[in-house]
């Protein structure tokens, strides 16, 4: 057992960090700018969008831990979530798809010219139902769908052992997105109106192995947790920076235990998320037994701790914390929505209760 990054993984972490460094200081200053195409261009140029793509489709063929390293860094700068959806979730699903054209599609996703997002249903496994030749779309809020080109869904057919991966154009008729009026300007969030998409409208359909379909929700949960890990780590660092610099009563406020203990507790929570997230990513990649449970634990832990760390950071900033120009509130706004993204904590805790029999 070696729960640490390999030298190659460490190198990847450092190179992504260097890549996004220019955006780091402008989080919240440039607002929506962070989500934009410039960052995407940098990631494409750096070969990051092909990290999870199989080698035969021209990618690097790396696993979810490597994806997590990138997601963590992107979470710190509040990116739009495009990478998570297209380069990680859609790419992982398509890598397991069987059928003509999947390799070409993967190559186009890796090149960054084509962008996909994945929808998860309300059901416990995130899979959609097929009825009367139509895919019944009923799902929670999502992101990176409208500015993408494709929408990917896992659909249960008549034979539950043969799930199908459906690929639609994101502007297919009958699919309606409605923007959720959230104050987070760094990422647009949309709800999807309940609808039925004719099977014939799909641009592609692939047979998906059952185990790949079962990993849909845990993978989404673990990937989002990695992004949250980065965001929570960054906002905690902002609070620490402020506590080191801001002076009151003749010295930095970080010397007071009221501040120290608050931030130390946040660090403990953050370290818990780090352990859960990377364990989940590794276990899902390795098809280890605990993967699903660890991923659900990560998401349910991430859901509440992100908001808490961000709130504490605002509190430590004092009145500056509620000023629009300061950065911590950007993370709080992201955290409030991430809490329910891909399902509320109760969904994950409920499922965990069943898994605990084998803990």
């Amino acid at each position: 057992m070696q729960f640490s990054f390999d030298p190659e993984q460490q190198m990847l972490r450092e190179s992504v960090l260097a890549m996004v460094e220019p955006w780091r200081s402008t989080v919240g200053v440039s607002g929506a700018g962070v989500a934009g195409d410039q960052l995407w261009g940098t990631l494409v140029e750096g070969g990051m969008t092909g990290v999870c793509t199989p080698v035969e489709a021209g990618g690097s063929g790396l696993g979810l831990v490597e994806a997590g390293c990138i997601l963590e860094t992107l979470g710190a700068i509040l990116d739009s979530g495009r990478f998570l959806m297209s380069a990680v979730l859609a790419t992982q699903l398509l890598s397991r798809a069987k059928g003509d054209g999947s390799l070409e599609l993967l190559a186009r996703l890796a090149s960054g010219h084509l962008k996909a997002s994945v929808l998860l249903s309300h059901e416990s496994d995130g899979v959609f139902q097929l009825h009367d030749g139509k895919v019944l779309v009923d799902c929670g809020p999502t992101f990176a769908a409208v500015d993408g080109d494709l929408v990917v869904m896992v659909v249960r057919g008549r034979d539950p052992d043969l799930p199908t991966l459906f690929v639609y154009s994101s502007n297919t008729p009958h699919l309606r997105f409605e923007e959720l009026p959230v104050p987070d300007v760094t990422r647009r969030v949309h709800t999807v109106r309940r609808c039925a998409l004719p099977v014939g409208d799909a641009t592609a359909q692939y047979v998906l192995p059952r185990d790949a379909a079962l990993k849909l929700r845990p993978m989404a949960a673990a990937a989002l947790s990695a992004q949250i890990l980065g965001g929570a780590g960054e906002v905690l660092e902002l609070a620490c920076q402020y506590a080191r610099e801001r002076t009151q009563f003749g010295g930095p406020i970080g010397r007071f235990q009221a501040i120290k203990h608050l931030l130390a507790d946040d660090r403990v929570m953050l370290d818990g998320l780090r352990s859960l997230t990377y364990a989940a990513l590794w276990q899902l990649s390795a098809d280890a037994q605990d993967g699903v449970a660890t991923a659900y634990a990560a998401k349910s832990w991430a859901a509440d701790m992100y908001g808490r760390v961000a709130s504490d950071a605002i509190q430590v900033h004092g009145a500056m914390g509620i000023a629009a120009e300061s950065r911590p509130h950007r993370y709080l706004k992201r955290a409030l929505v991430d809490r329910v993204m891909f399902g509320a904590p109760s969904l994950y805790l409920g499922a965990l209760h069943e898994f605990n029999a084998i803990l």
């Binding site: 057992m1 070696q2 729960f3 640490s4 990054f5 390999d6 993984q9 831990v65 905690l236 620490c240 506590a243 080191r244 010295g251 930095p252 970080g254 010397r255 235990q257 501040i259 120290k260 203990h261 931030l263 130390a264 507790d265 660090r267 403990v268 370290d271 818990g272 780090r274 352990s275 859960l276 990377y278 364990a279 590794w282 276990q283 390795a286 280890a288 449970a293 660890t294 634990a297 349910s300 832990w301 109760s346 805790l349 409920g350 965990l352 209760h353 898994f355 605990n356 029999a357 803990l359």
Partner: protein
């Protein structure tokens, strides 16, 4: 990154599991536990001896002192399997996890040869003489003196909160050799047999009903110069290293959290509430268990992730405080849930029978967020040494 067992670890895991099934049963567990409560270390010594002979007592130590030169991850495999099989409370941990590793690094050849193998095989039970009535969290203010003489040193003063001191054979005392007020610089460490004339031990009754801790009075205790660990004035270095190792040792309670959670789940599954419904079917009970399970997973994974940061033989850094703080707070929460849910259930013959031990375990769990540096001291360490906040 690789979170599965290496072939070596997998072999060890299977071997220890087989060994435990053959050597440990409920009668043995109860026997050892009841003897500890009664102040009798003999059954624990016998158990430690068996662990030692099987090669499990001090896996990562050098062969010369009875170890296997195994990796830290093998130690973790051992801790995990022992916890999963509900192995008896390890009263030798002060020696095998704190004092032994420090002696390995800082002890004289004579001290190592004389003490280490016995520490591993159950013949030397250690206690630690740090805290004093006036010096708890502020350890560097301690006043008990070691006065240099032409034959060695004379130890004079009082120690308190010595774990298992009433059963111990040896103790590592932290004493003032410098001027009063010399703080960290004027301290030295000594290893001393508890049978030395002038040492008096008085057990302290705890709120849990047990007496695991003691006061130790030192009335002109004569020790040779060879009892000193390191140079005169090295005491603080010894203490800090030991506290670092202790944090790590206490952090192995991450696996104990897993043990308590499994018991909690088992117990709740048997409990019914007044109306006859199963406790496990109540939404608030399910939610509480699920939330605790998330934390238990963190505690177990933290053990693996934090141990990967430390090279073999080295003391863990300040990050160990993160692990210690999390696991000890969780340990309390788990025992608290055990008590709450047992009391919430309908009182039956079974619940009445387990209730005294449940109270004892919960009340006993408070010591974990106090010993080895309180939870508040851990937060200071995390803030100053991990988050780089000003002192």
């Amino acid at each position: 990154m690789n979170l599965s067992d290496s072939p070596r670890e997998a072999t060890l895991r299977a071997e220890v599991e087989r060994w435990l099934l053959a050597n440990l049963d409920d009668a043995r567990r109860t026997g050892i536990e009841e003897a500890i409560v009664a102040g009798d270390s003999a059954p624990s010594r016998c158990w430690q001896r068996q662990l030692f002979e099987a090669g499990y007592a001090v896996r990562s130590w050098p062969r010369r002192y009875g170890g296997q030169e195994g990796s830290l991850s093998e130690d973790l495999v051992l801790f995990e399997v022992l916890a999963r099989h509900d192995a008896p409370d390890d009263i030798f941990r002060v020696g095998t996890r704190n004092i032994g590793p420090v002696l390995l690094q800082m002890g004289s050849e004579e001290q190592k040869d004389r003490l280490l193998t016995g520490t591993a095989d159950g013949s030397i039970l250690w206690s630690q003489g740090f805290s004093e009535p006036g010096s708890g969290s502020d350890l560097a203010s301690l006043k008990s003196r070691a006065i240099s003489t032409d034959r060695g040193y004379v130890l004079r003063g009082q120690k308190v909160w010595n774990t298992f001191g009433h059963m111990a054979d040896w103790c590592l005392f932290l004493m003032r050799t410098g001027e009063l007020g010399s703080r960290h610089n004027g301290l030295s460490a000594f290893v001393v047999p508890m049978s030395t004339p002038g040492i008096e031990v008085r057990p302290i009754a705890q709120m849990s009903g047990r007496s695991d801790f003691n006061e130790v009075f030192l009335a002109d205790v004569e020790v040779p110069a060879s009892a000193r660990v390191g140079e005169e004035g090295d005491g603080w270095k010894v203490a800090v290293k030991m506290l670092d190792f202790e944090r790590r040792g206490l952090a192995a309670i991450g696996f104990d959290c897993l043990r308590v959670f499994r018991k909690l789940r088992q117990r709740v599954a048997t409990l019914r509430c007044g109306g006859g419904a199963a406790l496990m079917d109540l939404p608030h009970v399910r939610r509480r268990l699920a939330e605790l399970s998330v934390q238990v997973r963190i505690a177990v994974l933290n053990n693996h992730r934090f141990s990967a940061m430390v090279p073999v033989g080295a003391a863990p850094g300040a990050e160990a405080s993160v692990q210690k703080l999390h696991a000890t707070e969780l340990f309390k929460s788990l025992h608290s849930a055990m008590l709450d849910l047992t009391l919430e259930a309908e009182a039956t013959g079974d619940t009445l029978k387990v209730l005294p031990k449940t109270f004892e375990a919960y009340l006993g769990s408070f010591g974990f967020t106090i010993g080895g540096g309180t939870a508040q001291i851990q937060r200071n360490i995390i803030a100053e040494r991990v988050l780089d906040l000003p002192r």
